[in-house]
Subunit: 273 residues, 2 copies
């Protein structure tokens, strides 16, 4: 999916919500366990309940890899079920030497038909650029993540370039890609950082995890992160998909997603009026 | 596999070679293509030809993931075929927020029975420690990698702690694990760094890629990297497994592995005499 299509979808549907499909057998409603593939069944119902309220879906690959070959089949069927109207992110956090990153890119973009893959920056340019050579496909590079460990290395100050590690990652990576094929992960748990983020990358889309279960605040992020093209994909996983553990799980997931969509509609409206 | 078993294997077999199983359909001898699973067949023959010459095998997961669910089956069968006498490394370079890293750990350690997994440090402590809670299982943390991109962020100088990023990773991570469950990746393409590596982590095992196709020099690494417990696993992938593209591929792979084993035997002998 190219940038123009993503942006037009956001303004047409009045939402920049990404639903994280971090589906665990131990957390889905028990009545689904009688299905042949309970995780696929759960995903399908969540997708049906949220399609019109979000522009993106993001399965985290760990949840599928953990199930072995069957998990990869479930993942592929989930991607196929979502279809072509949504931006589909493989939250894989991959990154390896050049010829190996190319393999991962082929796996996610060509074999499985994801639109984007999250990539870790530690190994530098030749670990990232192999993902950037596919028409309509995107790298979402980890910059400042939402977890506690983001304070261990990402915020350290670099002597030569007078910036934090995450700032250098974001600055340098813009020489590898463009706002048409490169986004950044910036966690909702660092709302103050969005001012600096927009100085470094005024036009890039940001994938923002950490709203919902991890405690980030939507309005605070939008205040400094929202651009005229929107420029944000806000992810919520657990707060939506596990809103209820009962037979009403899809209905409750829709209610949670609807709340976020309505808040987003208002924030978008304020920004562009 | 615990540390004592690994070390005793090294000194008994007089080798600290790790064979990288980065197997690609386009690179294996054509006569194998008539087998039902050509990659598995190739791996089996490479394993049979090198078992006594190495202590570890390291499939890079990208090469298997790329093939979808069937690739994961090939990977599992390869791990099963290797058996329990070798240290088996999932070269996966994973790392995610805590609950997600735990999923990856379960996938590699419990579902697939790997001994170790390579982990990227960018997301910090809570992305790494979930991999450290499994008896006899190991994290191999990226510190200073072998690729050109290792110069982009890893070698940057940190103002507060007066050290390079990779040095801080190595120093801080030793508070998360011990030389009994934590190793580090240090590329053979940085031979001069091994003096500093041994100041920071005198007892840790190092997984050293970049000898062979990437041009690193075995003797130069051992000069500063070898310890009385050996402390090194030297990986070679393409230079061994693709030593010949013909019907003699296993024989030629054995010859290449044998050369490395003999060089290692001499270096080990020099060190401990």
């Amino acid at each position: 999916m190219n940038r123009a299509t993503l942006i037009s979808g956001i303004f047409r549907k009045k939402t920049f919500l990404c639903v994280g499909l971090d589906t665990e057998l131990g957390k889905i409603p028990q009545h689904l366990l009688r299905h042949e593939d309970p995780i696929l069944e759960f995903n399908r119902r969540i997708i049906d309940a949220t399609r019109d309220l979000c522009v993106a879906y993001k399965p985290n690959l760990a949840f599928y890899e953990r199930l072995g070959p069957a998990g990869w089949q479930t993942l592929q069927k989930t991607v196929d079920y979502i279809g072509h109207e949504h931006f589909i992110i493989a939250d894989a956090k991959r990154g390896d030497i050049g010829n190996t990153s190319r393999m991962y890119a082929e796996a996610f973009f060509q074999k499985m038909n994801f639109d984007a893959v999250t990539v870790a920056p530690y190994m530098g340019e030749d670990s990232v650029t192999p993902f950037l050579g596919f028409e309509g496909k995107w790298v979402i590079l980890l910059a400042l993540t939402s977890n506690k460990g983001s304070n261990d290395f990402q915020r350290d100050w670099l002597e030569d370039s007078r910036e934090a590690v995450w700032e250098k990652v974001m600055r340098v990576a813009q020489g590898w890609g463009s706002p048409a094929n490169l986004m950044f992960v910036v966690g909702a748990t660092h709302p103050d950082a969005f001012i600096r983020v927009r100085e470094i990358a005024p036009d890039s889309f940001l994938l923002v995890p950490g709203v919902g279960a991890q405690g980030g605040d939507l309005a605070a992020i939008c205040k400094n992160g929202l651009t005229r093209d929107c420029g944000l994909l806000i992810n919520a996983s657990r707060s939506i998909i596990y809103a209820s553990g009962g037979e009403d799980f899809a209905e409750k997931a829709r209610e949670e997603a609807k709340k976020m969509q309505e808040a987003m509609e208002e924030l978008l409206h304020k920004k562009i009026k």
